[in-house]
């Protein structure tokens, strides 16, 4: 299982968590990450409006030549985005696990303010347990 990176985007389109899991990836500045996450949020909203066959979810997978983004949108509006190699087939189930970890370690943490950046050791360590540590 190879995972490049994980993003968590709040319902307003703000990036609240970002982490890379593989060495030697092209690095962006934190500001660039914020801008791109916001843009993805917008693109996602556009894709759901583009549906020719009535109401639909937004984009769930976006593929490039060397990687793909798998997007899990929860009913409450939070987005989990996983960037993986094209061959990774388990991305969706990984995201579901990430959601469970998020609900346990972030939402149940009384010191975490909803919609704010996630700074929780518990979340970090369980994510690392799930996806491997990488570098960063």
């Amino acid at each position: 299982m190879v995972v490049f990176g994980l993003w968590v985007i709040n319902k307003a389109g703000g990036l609240v968590y970002q982490r890379n899991f593989t060495d030697g990836l092209a690095q962006l500045t934190s500001n660039e990450y914020l801008v791109l996450a916001g843009t993805l949020h917008g693109i996602h909203a556009i894709t759901s409006r583009l549906s020719p066959t009535g109401p639909s979810s937004g984009a769930q997978v976006i593929e490039g030549e060397t990687f793909k983004l798998t997007i899990l949108l929860t009913v409450t509006g939070t987005k989990f985005v996983l960037s993986t190699p094209l061959a990774e087939t388990a991305a969706e189930s990984i995201l579901q696990r990430v959601y469970e970890i998020y609900s346990d370690t972030v939402m149940k943490n009384p010191f975490h303010t909803p919609e704010m950046p996630i700074r929780s050791e518990g979340f970090d360590s369980r994510i690392v347990g799930l996806l491997g540590s990488g570098q960063s």
Partner: protein, 204 residues
């Protein structure tokens, strides 16, 4: 997504069994009791205690919903009737191991408050709790009865908070409570409106 209610029951049972973390029911009941008593001491007014319990529940609900969604993987409900079924058979079952009876009122046109939605036939339901883990061992003193304390009012808040996070504004209130000497413990959930913030369209 018209999942028959039987299936919800199965999902609820399954969640309850496979959920790993459980806590001793007596510890739970006693802790909650201590909390309520502390609130009564602090506020010295039962109406205010009801309000505070509801507020606490609301804050719990807005967070608990994520846990519920992450584990149950039930999708968006097609109508409010289905919401009732899911709340009772999956929600209450998986968190409290009880399954309240859901009663839907016969379809009537509700007077105000629900204009936006074209037609909302079942915009409320009643949950009848046969047992209440929160109220285990509890006997309300005369004073609390007179003051109008709803001992389990935290549940109202939890439901309101959780449903608000999935774009439903509801009003939840206790109709009766066995602790007050009523025959049953009943909660009524009324849909006020669907919130329209960036509604994520039905998945799949």
């Amino acid at each position: 997504m018209a999942t028959p209610s039987k299936q919800y029951k199965a999902i609820g049972e399954d969640l309850w069994k496979s959920r790993t973390e459980k806590v001793n029911a007596e510890l739970f009941a006693l802790t909650y009791g201590a909390l309520v008593v502390q609130l009564i001491q602090d506020y010295e007014d039962y109406g205010e205690v009801n309000k505070q319990l509801e507020k606490m529940g609301y804050n719990i609900g807005t967070r608990l919903i994520e846990d519920f969604l992450a584990r149950s993987s039930v999708g968006r409900c097609s109508d409010f009737r289905e919401v009732g079924e899911v709340v009772a058979k999956v929600g209450f079952k998986s968190f409290l191991n009880i399954t309240p009876t859901v009663t839907h009122p016969p379809p009537t046109s509700r007077p105000t408050s629900v204009q936006r939605q074209t037609s909302v036939p079942n915009s409320s339901f009643t949950l009848t709790l046969d047992e209440n883990p929160l109220a285990e061992f509890v006997e309300l003193p005369e004073e609390a009865l007179e003051g109008g304390l709803w001992f389990s009012n935290v549940l109202c808040g939890v439901l309101r908070g959780a449903l608000e996070m999935v774009q439903m504004q509801v009003q939840v209130e206790f109709l009766s409570d066995v602790l007050r000497g009523d025959e049953t413990t009943e909660l009524r959930v009324t849909l006020l409106k669907y919130l329209e913030e960036e509604v994520p369209m039905g998945d799949e």
